[in-house]
């Protein structure tokens, strides 16, 4: 009798788990229609922010929305890097990354899709999106802007646990780990988030 009951429980769990963990087709860090416009980013300045991913998602194609105001960007020599971080205590650890380089449409916004470095199924929960842009060669990054969600400029640091911030030192790589204490968490540069979509 006991064996029969255990088998019944096992079957039921399998069905419930399959129904409770569907796979997302895509995830956006904020509804794109809520974007506040485009803001230029400093060269080599990594920004990072928290997201709550509600369901499992394949780390397929991170996509950003950019505005290019200079014709020189049609031959831009820079790169855009995306980092997927997890947080343990006060340390962010790089779990995966993606990058892209290329030209842009200079009369409109451009979607840019990044190539991932490794396949991964992102599990539901809190993750941290890092984005960095840096130029090697022609310094035209000041003509390149990300579509972002905020332009407000709070004068005090974000209270509570770590939510978002920006490296104050320039870097040309996506760090393997970052201490949250090394991130600036005050002002508009720290809290604005570039629009990021990850599609499977």
């Amino acid at each position: 009798m006991s064996d029969f009951l255990l088998m019944g429980v096992g079957d039921r769990r399998a069905v419930v788990v399959a129904a409770a963990n569907p796979q997302l087709q895509f995830f956006e860090n904020f509804p794109g229609k809520g974007g506040a416009g485009n803001v230029a980013y400093s060269n080599g300045t990594l920004s990072i922010h928290a997201v709550n991913i509600p369901l499992s998602l394949s780390f397929g194609y991170p996509v950003v929305l950019l505005s290019a105001s200079s014709n020189a960007l049609s031959n831009w020599l820079g790169e855009i890097h995306f980092g997927l971080y997890s947080l343990n205590g006060s340390t962010l650890s790089l779990a995966n990354s993606a990058s892209a380089a290329g030209s842009f449409i200079t009369t409109a916004y451009s979607w840019m899709s990044m190539a991932t470095s490794a396949t991964q199924n992102i599990s539901p929960g809190a993750w941290y999106f890092g984005l960095n842009i840096f130029t090697s060669g022609v310094a035209v990054h000041t003509s390149l802007s990300f579509f972002v969600n905020s332009s407000i400029n709070p004068q005090n640091a974000i209270p509570g646990g770590f939510l978002m911030g920006r490296m104050t030192a320039s870097t040309n790589a996506m760090p393997g780990s970052i201490a949250t204490s090394d991130l600036d968490i005050t002002g508009s540069d720290a809290i604005r988030q570039p629009y990021i979509i990850i599609t499977a």
């Binding site: 229609k33 369901l55 599609t199």
Partner: protein, 180 residues
Amino acid sequence: MPQLDFQHNGLVMNQNLIINNGSLSFFPFLINDSISWVNFNVAMVYGASGSKTQSLSVGLYSISGSSLSLTNSITGSFGITATGQALNRFWFSATATSATQNINPGNWYFGILFSTVGASSNISFGVGASLASAGNAFPGGFIGGAMTNSTNALPSSIATSNLNITGIDAMFIPCIIISA
């Protein structure tokens, strides 16, 4: 699994985008937990004076690979009076789904079709805070798009490759609220 009473896609609507007769657009909609679908609301704007009546069909689509499939629908109409919603924003609201349905968590798509009967001029969707129109097609997986041809019915299935995914007219998303 908890059951939602409502779900919306962000109540930001400082901009308007005009709607064309017979146009069918597919808007992504993320359901965080299960919800029994009863009511559908979408933000709209009527930019003229005088009365107006218009019908509208809403399809709930699932996606599998590169194909959208119709799973449920709502059809309704709204009337605008000269002294009512004219020149203002308003909610189109409908409650008669074609079948009872508990929508599972995940990415879904609402296909919204304006009737080809009667002129839809001066009617817009209430959309986001800032319009960003990309000049290239969206890369990666499908996140929404619009039919280029006019239609007078919600298709039971449609290939995403048949949808326009370039520019704000194809990729905009109106404010949508659904409730149990």
